[in-house]
């Protein structure tokens, strides 16, 4: 699979979380994920229309990495984290952060802002305005990691029980809490085969991807960095 197609697939998959605010683009994105790469360009267009903020992030990452915004490395850097984020001038990250803070009426909290999804969720998304209030939504919206402990089938879908660390609010600070078991949606058709013991990336109670140690470290590193900014 070419890098751009792989990046589009990842963008489509990680965008699924918003699909309850459904629009005509959902069907295009889902069909692209489930079927072939025939409607790749159409899917990209759908993602851009549906998730304009995400597109702003990958455009800046792509610009400084000299890559197409939908290149797999760029999309992966946004959702999972990667050292290419460290090459983006802080002025460029700050410019985008300030734009979103202004739009969502949030005071700028940190100069350490990175163009990774969890920074967006904790620092500049509409949730960031009232973090304690929207703690559980932020926990669903961030990209988290967890280890699969069991998989079972419900009527029309699979459930993966995963051990992960939820966000907690303690003494005025938001941090990762103790490990707990949670049930997640697992769509075999989209994600492929996953096994007990594997570490996965999750978004909106959905297993998205089996991740390797490097990716797990990146998600956790950028999550902690983002939490330290708020």
């Amino acid at each position: 699979m070419k890098d751009r197609e792989k990046g589009t697939k990842m963008a489509a998959l990680f965008s699924l979380g918003c699909s309850e605010l459904s629009d005509e683009n959902d069907d295009i994105i889902l069909s692209f994920l489930k079927n072939s790469s025939e409607n790749e360009a159409e899917a990209r267009e759908g993602i851009i229309k549906k998730h304009s903020t995400f597109f702003q992030f990958i455009s800046v990452i792509g610009k400084y990495a000299n890559l197409d915004p939908f290149h797999y490395k760029v999309v992966s850097a946004y959702f999972i984290g990667d050292k290419i984020l460290e090459n983006i001038p802080s002025s460029a990250s700050k410019e985008l952060a300030e734009k979103l803070c202004k739009k969502n009426k949030i005071p700028i909290l940190s100069n350490k802002f990175k163009l990774m999804h969890n920074f967006y969720v904790f620092c500049v998304s509409p949730y960031a305005k009232e973090k304690q209030l929207f703690l559980s939504s932020m926990d669903l919206c961030r990209i988290s990691t967890g280890r699969i402990v069991s998989i079972h089938r419900e009527e029309s879908f699979y459930i993966a029980d995963v051990i992960y660390r939820p966000l907690v609010y303690r003494a005025g600070i938001i941090e990762l809490g103790e490990e707990k078991k949670e049930s997640m949606i697992y769509e075999k058709e989209i994600v492929g085969e996953v096994k007990k013991g594997q570490v996965v990336a999750m978004h909106w109670k959905r297993v998205l991807k089996v991740i390797n140690l490097f990716e797990e470290k990146n998600i956790n590193y950028y999550t902690k960095e983002a939490l330290s900014c708020i």
Partner: protein
């Protein structure tokens, strides 16, 4: 922006029926057990989380505010 509309569980007798602003919807499944009157979040038709009434109101207000702004209203 990752936003999911909160629904109210209005019937669990056969399938789980949900409602938002008078519009009814059948849940495709649930990760949790729910009862009539609960407020829940969905993921592609599957109930993923129970939330309080006040959280449901806050999220609904956030969504309507966000989309009004997006549409330039």
């Amino acid at each position: 922006m990752c936003l999911t509309i909160p629904y109210k569980v209005v019937d669990i007798s056969d399938k789980i029926t949900l409602e938002i602003k008078g519009e009814k919807k059948i849940a495709q499944g649930s990760l949790i057990s729910v009862k009539q009157g609960d407020f829940v979040l969905l993921q592609n038709g599957v109930i993923i989380k129970k939330i309080s009434r006040s959280d449901a109101e806050e999220i609904t207000s956030l969504i309507s505010h966000y989309y009004k702004k997006k549409e330039g209203k």
